[in-house]
């Protein structure tokens, strides 16, 4: 018989209480994992930002367009490798609940500035050949069972009317954090129709994507871009892609911060649940610990017994919770619109945090019972004076 066996036997002594504690910890870990996954999904755009890309937008707001003519001027700045642009199209596919990003882009350059959207040469070539061709992300193709050659029809809202596209490419995400839920089509297709139907809206783009040679020059190049268009009718604001992405989620900061706080409050709750169990266990075993001390077991042994029991329960609960978090997160992912959280998965940091939390909870929950056990004199443990 080893001490570990005694630890496990002690942990399972009150099966119902231990089971309830393990379930409580597991539920808390699931809640923690789910909240952290939402938080990381929210920040995924920021985390996936490239440091060699700048975004130039209208200085007032992202929703105001910029002239197409800016592209050439930005391209001439030293240190700029390539300039592309995009325009938020919006529109409705099937119904308003089917949301994913749809953008009119510079078809010739978009895949150069976004190498993480991986498209075969054949698909790229086919996309460039046809004015009404489009490319969609792999996740969208999978969700709607779309195949190359399919016609995708959008009902325009920002740009009214019926818009038909031919699917010529399905891009693959380079990494797990790459957004594979977008749709790109030729900006010229949009612009041509605007020239015919709404000439005052033609010739504009939403924002420019500026790929630079040296990320260390991002601040200087941003200043140069904005300086060119200062005092023009459409002044610009240029910033790193990361800052641009952060600007998008800034409005939701309070909610995200609250979720962050709640996820850590949950750890506190787990600590109380396990702490309560351990205190009850240690109190019930006061006499047994006195016996062990009498037999010669020292402080190290008793710390090992109590801490070990706490860790066993904590890791059983944490492990169970973590195991269940994966299918639960997968279930959530399957049931939320793809465009809402393009990447919704448990990040390694969430697993590390959950395991660390289990470790911390196991240690913290054993502190009070250990202190109580060690400070109780043997004769007091036996509870009588002769």
């Amino acid at each position: 018989m080893k001490i570990l066996k005694l630890i496990i036997k002690n942990a399972l002594r009150h099966k119902l209480r231990t089971t309830l504690t393990i379930i409580g910890i597991a539920i808390a870990v699931i809640a923690f994992g789910l909240l952290r996954t939402v938080v990381t999904a929210w920040y995924i755009g920021v985390d996936a930002s490239a440091n060699d890309r700048l975004i130039t937008r209208h200085s007032v707001s992202f929703i105001f367009p910029l002239p197409y003519a800016y592209k050439e001027k930005i391209s001439r700045i030293q240190g700029v490798e390539e300039v592309s642009f995009a325009n938020w199209f919006g529109g409705v596919y099937r119904d308003k609940n089917q949301f994913f990003a749809r953008m009119a882009v510079d078809a010739n350059t978009i895949f150069n500035v976004y190498p993480e959207f991986q498209l075969s040469d054949k698909e790229k070539s086919d996309f460039l050949k046809e004015r009404n061709a489009c490319v969609i992300g792999y996740e969208i193709a999978k969700q709607y069972n779309m195949k190359l050659g399919d016609i995708i029809t959008l009902e325009g809202d920002i740009y009214p009317g019926r818009w038909d596209f031919v699917l010529r490419g399905i891009y693959q995400p380079k990494t797990k954090t790459t957004d594979a839920t977008q749709m790109f089509f030729h900006w010229e297709y949009l612009d041509e129709r605007l020239r015919a139907e709404a000439p005052d809206r033609a010739g504009d783009v939403g924002w420019y994507i500026v790929k630079i040679n040296d990320p260390n020059q991002s601040a200087a190049i941003s200043d140069q871009v904005d300086a060119i268009f200062r005092n023009s009718p459409a002044e610009t604001k240029t910033e790193t892609e990361k800052a641009f992405a952060q600007g998008f989620i800034q409005a939701s900061d309070a909610i995200i911060n609250s979720m962050n706080v709640i996820s850590f409050v949950i750890i506190g709750i787990i600590m109380l649940v396990l702490g309560n169990t351990m205190i009850m266990a240690a109190r019930e075993r006061t006499r047994e610990y006195a016996v062990l001390k009498t037999l010669g077991f020292n402080a190290k042994h008793l710390i090992g017994l109590i801490l070990g029991e706490s860790m066993v329960i904590s890791f059983l609960g944490g492990g169970l919770g973590l195991l269940l978090t994966f299918p639960i997160v997968a279930g959530f992912e399957a049931n939320i619109p793809k465009g809402m959280f393009p990447v919704f998965q448990i990040e390694p940091v969430t697993i590390i945090l959950a395991v660390s939390a289990a470790l911390l909870v196991g240690i913290a929950a054993s502190i009070f019972p250990i202190n109580r056990t060690l400070s109780t004199r043997i004769v007091d443990g036996f509870g009588h004076i002769g």
Binding site: M1, K2, I3, K5, L6, K9, N10, R13, R287, E288, V291, L292, K293, T294, L295, G296, F297, N298, A299, H301, R377, I378, V379, F382, H384, I385, G386
Partner: protein, 223 residues
Amino acid sequence: MSELIKVNNVSKSYWRDSFEIPVLNDITLCVNEGDFLALMGPSGSGKTTLLNLVAGIDKPTRGSIEVAGTDIAKLNESSLAKWRSNNVGFVFQFYNLIPVLTAFENVELPLLLTKLSKAERRKHVETALSVVGLADRMDHYPKQLSGGQEQRVAIARAVVTDPIILVADEPTGDLDKHSATEILTLLERLNKEFNKTILMVTHDPHAAEKAHNVRHLEKGDLV
């Protein structure tokens, strides 16, 4: 026979808030090797306290206690724990077996603190359980044993490390007459056959009859 235990002018007091409660007053006592001493006295007379002091699970307020040449009152907690595991076997009134461990595992507990191999531990445990007549019940849990059998397991646990002294605090206090007789016979056998020095606290004159010497305590004084 040489003097194994020397209790010299030992006093013990407990404190409740600012009140000192004297329990033992200037006790001097010698116990020879191989002796079987019974301590008797009314409740609160200090007999268990004296037993605890000799066994090294409590410390005197004043005086010294020498066991086999070691002044145990001067040992720190860690050294005292080690000393107890090497030198003292304990038998309690309420057996104090660990309920989640089998008889075998309960007896094996003190041996986990030694460097014995698993096979050696098994041999020692089987021998100890044979001595108390429970070799056939080693896989039973305490709740599957009678009170007398539990106490015999506790005795096996007390002797498995081959301690020089055995302390027994009311070992028959929770047993029926038949079981009590069995336990007393066993203690007597351990004393005679295995030359174990035994200190036993008891209220029971029948139990005290088994001892070589009987000392009485009254309000903390040895009379």
